[in-house]
Point group: C2
Chain length 347, copies 2
């Protein structure tokens, strides 16, 4: 069922059929109607390969997600709403979104080279940016349209949107200090993911702004999952004085952290204050509920899509923004995990 079959069936040239289907102006409204009706009746869908070959464009955008330990564990509940937002924008422009899955045994840059070299997508959204991210360098020098969910220390000017981990750290630290805490630990990713650096810097800066000395022993690297949270708690318990509060960079860590503290007879929310990261169904139903930060993930997806489109020549007129480079706000959602207990109430 190619366009040729359709044209033969209608006894019209294939050029006219193509123009009719693509909404070109120089076609009789009456014949256009005939074409559209026949196309629907015969179930004709244009072959994407033929179209791509001719137009040099695929109408497809790739969202690259790596299956690393850092992202695998909260992948579903985080990315799905983002996808929804992205798609809601793309749909208006007849763009399709696919998730590009880079396996753990494949080099991300090599994967990108393959998929981009094949002209598989017109543009890319990459996420979980590393401090040194070869993907950014690669995409920049090939001039592939892309937007990064996350900053990077890689040089060059490119569009990015990053969660406000600096703001999160500042808000959390200030809040805890106002509650009377002085020894505030943080759990940071053990990997080279850039948000870890941002988070650490924000933490240090907030301490300094509040006149609390920085203690490197309170920075606890761990994987961003339950096991990592367990280890963070263990590290805290090993210290001579148990830190009175801890800030986590991932909500799954809270589960493991709670567990370890329970095992030690310590009640989070009563004996130690905990602030987690992302508000979710999970954080609302933990015991104690987790004080954390809310993100509008769907809006984030929308903004990502718009940022990408503004870099693509074909859409530049519809989205004439400057290169997007912004920090995405997050709102604190108070829970039970940092409120029941105040060090200044007992000392």
């Amino acid at each position: 069922m190619s366009i040729r079959d359709l044209a033969r069936h209608l006894d019209i040239s294939i050029g006219t059929v193509s123009r009719a289907l693509n909404g070109k102006s120089d076609v009789n409204p009456e014949t256009r109607e005939r074409v559209l009706v026949a196309a629907k009746k015969l179930g004709y869908v244009p072959n994407q390969s033929g179209r791509s070959l001719r137009q040099g464009t695929t109408n497809t955008i790739g969202f690259m997600i790596e299956s690393t330990i850092e992202t695998a564990d909260n992948g579903g509940s985080f990315f799905m709403p983002v996808f929804e937002g992205v798609q809601s924008v793309f749909r208006r422009h007849h763009l399709d979104l696919v998730a590009l899955l880079c396996g753990t045994d494949e080099d991300p840059a090599a994967y990108l080279n393959r998929v981009v070299g094949r002209r598989f997508v017109d543009g890319l959204i990459i996420s979980a940016t590393m401090r040194k991210d070869p993907r950014i360098k690669f995409l920049l020098e090939r001039e592939i349209p892309f937007v990064a969910l996350g900053r990077s220390a890689t040089g060059g000017a490119y569009p990015w949107i990053d969660l406000d981990f600096e703001g999160v750290a500042a808000t959390a630290v200030t809040r805890l200090i106002n509650f009377g805490h002085k020894r505030i630990a943080i759990g940071v990713p053990a990997s080279d993911i850039n948000l870890g650096y941002v988070f650490r810097d924000g933490y240090k800066r907030a301490l300094k702004a509040n006149g609390v000395p920085f203690d490197p022993e309170l920075v606890l690297p761990a994987h961003s999952n339950e096991e990592g949270g367990y280890q963070v708690a263990s590290s805290m318990l090993e210290q001579k004085h148990l830190p009175t509060a801890v800030i986590l960079v991932n909500e799954n860590m809270a589960i493991g952290l709670y567990r370890r503290f329970y095992e030690a007879g310590i009640h989070p929310g009563r004996d130690v204050a905990v602030i987690g990261f992302r508000e979710s169904t999970q954080s609302r139903f933990l015991s104690p509920t987790l004080t954390c930060f809310r993100i509008s993930l769907r809006d984030l997806g929308i903004k990502l899509a718009e940022a990408l489109l503004s870099t693509m020549p074909a859409f530049k007129d519809s989205y004439p923004q400057d290169r997007v480079a912004m920090v995405w706000p997050m709102e604190l959602v108070p829970g039970e995990s940092d409120r029941s207990w105040r060090p200044n109430a007992s000392s």
Copy 2:
């Protein structure tokens, strides 16, 4: 950088270049070497559209995931290992895997029609099959190669692999009955997802096999997330006699269920036995740790890939299996949530 540029650069015909790159036999080893070296040096990657158009095949397989409530919340930790397994097989055949994201506002069958009609993929893996799943009907009548992760009540013969929810139900019920339980509740998905029906049937059959009467009041529909678990616990608390045990179909539900019981002063694992579903980092770090079932997700992915390839003409010789229609085994992992308390120890 097309094959034509490469041919010109080497002063060879493009036909020979193509044959050299594709490993055809009728090409001088020496010129092949030259071609390969030049291709790598100039960074030539064949254009997929051109290739697809000529060959009628895209070398791409789509894994369709819908962002429903049922799948969104455990999407990452469940699907990522499956993807890994699928990819490990595909890589050997130079097939690329992409995740197809069907938004919530789009009809899954319509989405499938678009992506399949465009000749975007050579084959499909669909998941989260519904009891009546129009996707299966659609794919069958178009003769698109596919495999389903999950059964369906839709007619027709198609390859599928389904988690052994019947076996899970039987194992859990028998275990609890052996512990002395008689009033065993189950939380089942509120949606039309097929696993809910399988799970329910297995539950009923296991009760009957053990001579325990079936009480429809103990079947509690809920969403497969924390909130659903909370509601399951609420429903249990509303009954005249609190059921002594509950089996959940999703591990996230356990968090909400624990929460509701804690609020009521009831300790899961001591006052009520809980068996959850999938073993994961999460279930290992809950308090109490969740008795649940382990799945080898990577192997599942491998099997899915093989099942799909065996239905594709181009690979039928490498995977000459019959149509796969199998139940995937799961292994019970004892936790703390169903052991501390035994109704027969106190009565």
